[in-house]
């Protein structure tokens, strides 16, 4: 090489891939690790449970209000004598799918709005952020109830209704990240090498803005599950599919006589959402460089 003996070859201390580092940080968070394991178990149950326990949750299989454990029904039966365990397993699918899909919908809307606003600034930003604020001040539950009531309670419509009321946080986070990153030197450098606006937005800036968006998306899955439970508790759900909220809603009159019919699906929601929040929290620690040094 042309290096003179005076000049040592440039070496830098062992640097690790950001993903490896993030995983290391995540693993150190014990609560988040436990939550991740529980969450994976719940997802596994939702995927293969119906095959292992092939009982139709709508079938009346026994007398009503059979307590958990009695008569061979692990979690008992509800007010119509339907198997609660089957309802729980089948309901997990609906809850998780709606949670994920609604989070995807709101991330798509939020990232698009936030990216355009943060990148173009000016009147585009003004307009988009006023729209965002408009959606922010809408009473979310009422608005989504109106959508479901007007357009029918199908799963896609419920997903859409949840997504459309919860994208504002993503939009604001995305915009603020864009405002920060667009001023950085590597963005100017990309511009200086002739990058088009679309590429600057989605290939240069967005990947660097992702960490807080990922955290927010994870937390949003949890709140979407809660939202779905709330809607189906109010009866705004597809009557042909069972979901956790719907089980609570249909058994709510009997809460004093057979509290387990409401408690058990309630616990399922609680544990799932708690786990998602803990995982989200762990992701936040792992992806936030400011917390790395701790």
């Amino acid at each position: 090489m042309t290096d003179s003996p005076l000049i040592p070859t440039e070496e830098i201390p062992e640097a690790r891939h950001p993903f490896a580092e993030a995983w290391e940080m995540f693993r150190r968070n014990h609560a988040a690790m436990v939550a991740l394991v529980v969450l994976l178990l719940i997802i596994l149950a939702a995927i293969i449970g119906p095959y292992l326990y092939p009982v139709d949750p709508f079938d009346m299989v026994w007398s009503p209000f059979s307590p958990p454990g009695a008569d061979g029904f692990l979690l008992g039966t509800d007010y119509l004598g339907r198997d609660l365990l089957a309802a729980l397993i089948h309901g997990a699918r609906v809850s998780i799918v709606i949670g994920l899909a609604a989070a995807v919908v709101s991330v798509l809307i939020g990232v698009t709005v936030g990216a355009l606003a943060g990148f173009y600034r000016g009147w585009v930003e003004e307009l988009l952020m006023r729209i965002t604020e408009f959606f922010q001040v809408l009473p979310t539950l009422l608005f989504s109830m109106v959508i479901v009531a007007l357009f029918g309670a199908s799963l896609p419509m419920i997903t859409f209704a949840i997504g459309i009321v919860s994208w504002t946080a993503v939009a604001r986070i995305t915009r603020s990240e864009f405002l920060r990153i667009r001023e950085l030197e590597y963005v100017t450098a990309s511009r200086a090498s002739g990058a088009k606006n679309g590429k600057l937005m989605f290939r240069v800036i967005l990947p660097n803005a992702l960490p807080p968006i990922i955290v927010q998306a994870a937390l949003m899955v949890g709140s979407a599950i809660l939202f779905e439970a709330g809607l189906s508790f109010l009866g705004l759900t597809d009557p042909n599919v069972v979901s956790w909220g719907q089980v609570i809603g249909s058994n709510r009159q009997y809460i004093l006589d057979a509290s387990f019919t409401v408690t058990i699906p309630g616990l399922a929601i609680f544990v799932t959402v708690l786990c998602i929040s803990l995982v989200g929290d762990g992701l936040n620690d792992a992806l936030n460089p400011k917390l790395r040094q701790r």
């Binding site: 891939h17 590597y186 200086a192 090498s193 002739g194 990058a195 660097n208």
Partner: protein
């Protein structure tokens, strides 16, 4: 012969809270093919603004080219469309920046970032662009280019990153390379390597170089001609050696006398390090019809405060904007 780049009476205005200030005030210069020139001056003199102005990258809504012309290879850049400018940037005129630590995108490998530029401007296939990226890394003397091409920027040292930046800038064999303080953030030993590299690449590709710096050593190392900027105006222009030997503007003289000299014999009497007293005037004072250096100049007279000095040409090609250029 027509110069490659011809800037005439360029005026760039910045909108500040206190009003509009001309950060570049009536600047003219020419750059021939294969020539290298240097812009010198303190921070805030408008060196970087000149570069951004040529690239069409002035900060949106804040900076604009108010008048004058930038003619590149017969094409007027001040009126060119955004699309045309994008095609030129990175392809015909490219730029390297001051901070190698922050001017590479942290989420892509260096190979991806080099290949990206090649693909965007030359429409090569992914594979061909990748192979060329490896060749370029090798050309900028990164050892084991084949292995390092899929490294991320954080796996490289500052000097290596600046080499990668140079590889990106030279990927499409530009006619002009603008280097905005390319070595300010680097160790002295690495600085020398980068200058060597830039000089080699210039010889190989025949690119013209515009180097922006405040380091007189870098000027002497890199450029044939230098332009000294002060408060948005050209203070002096001339061939490097002659200008350093005999500056024709008090500001140039001041800058040169600020450079410390290393002495082999430390018992030798050392000259006191001189300084240019005062600071660059604030943006709001730019553009007045007087000599803006007057407040820091030891040769100041009433005339300097009343009228902006015109440019005086000398026989050797030097030009100085000072009323008393002959006497300096």
């Amino acid at each position: 012969m027509e110069p490659l780049l011809k800037v005439e009476n360029l005026r760039i205005e910045l909108t500040t809270r206190t009003g509009v200030a001309p950060v570049i005030d009536n600047l003219s210069f020419e750059l021939g093919a294969g020539e290298s020139i240097s812009f010198v001056g303190e921070s805030g003199c408008g060196k970087s603004m000149t570069a951004l102005g040529i690239m069409g990258l002035l900060p949106e809504k804040v900076g604009r080219i108010a008048s004058g012309s930038i003619n590149f290879n017969g094409e007027e850049l001040t009126t060119a469309t955004a699309k045309r400018l994008r095609d030129i940037r990175g392809n015909d005129i490219s730029m390297i920046f001051q901070e190698p630590m922050t001017s590479l995108n942290p989420v892509y490998t260096v190979g991806e970032q080099i290949a990206e530029v090649i693909r965007a401007h030359q429409g090569l296939s992914r594979k061909a662009a990748w192979d060329q990226a490896i060749e370029l890394l090798d050309a900028v003397r990164i050892p084991n280019a084949k292995g390092r091409v899929s490294d991320y920027p954080f796996q490289m040292s500052g000097g290596q990153r600046q080499r990668v930046m140079i590889a990106i800038a030279l990927a499409c064999e530009p006619k002009i390379l603008i280097a905005d303080e390319p070595t300010t953030a680097l160790d002295v030993t690495v600085q020398a390597q980068i200058f060597d590299l830039l000089n080699d690449m210039k010889r190989q590709t025949g690119a013209s170089i515009i180097m922006i710096t405040h380091d007189m050593g870098a000027v002497a190392e890199m450029a044939e001609r230098m332009i000294v900027m002060y408060a948005g105006r050209k203070a002096e222009e001339g061939p490097v050696e002659q200008t350093i030997e005999h500056p024709r503007h008090p500001y140039t003289r001041g800058l040169i006398s600020c450079v410390p000299h290393i002495m082999s014999n430390i018992s030798e009497e050392r000259h006191a390090l001189t300084e240019v007293p005062g600071i660059v005037p604030s943006l709001s004072d730019f553009g007045q019809n007087r000599c803006l250096f007057a407040s820091r100049c030891n040769m100041v007279t009433q005339k300097c405060l009343e009228e902006r000095p015109t440019e005086k040409p000398f026989a050797n090609g030097q030009k100085a904007a000072c009323w008393y250029a002959e006497e300096v």
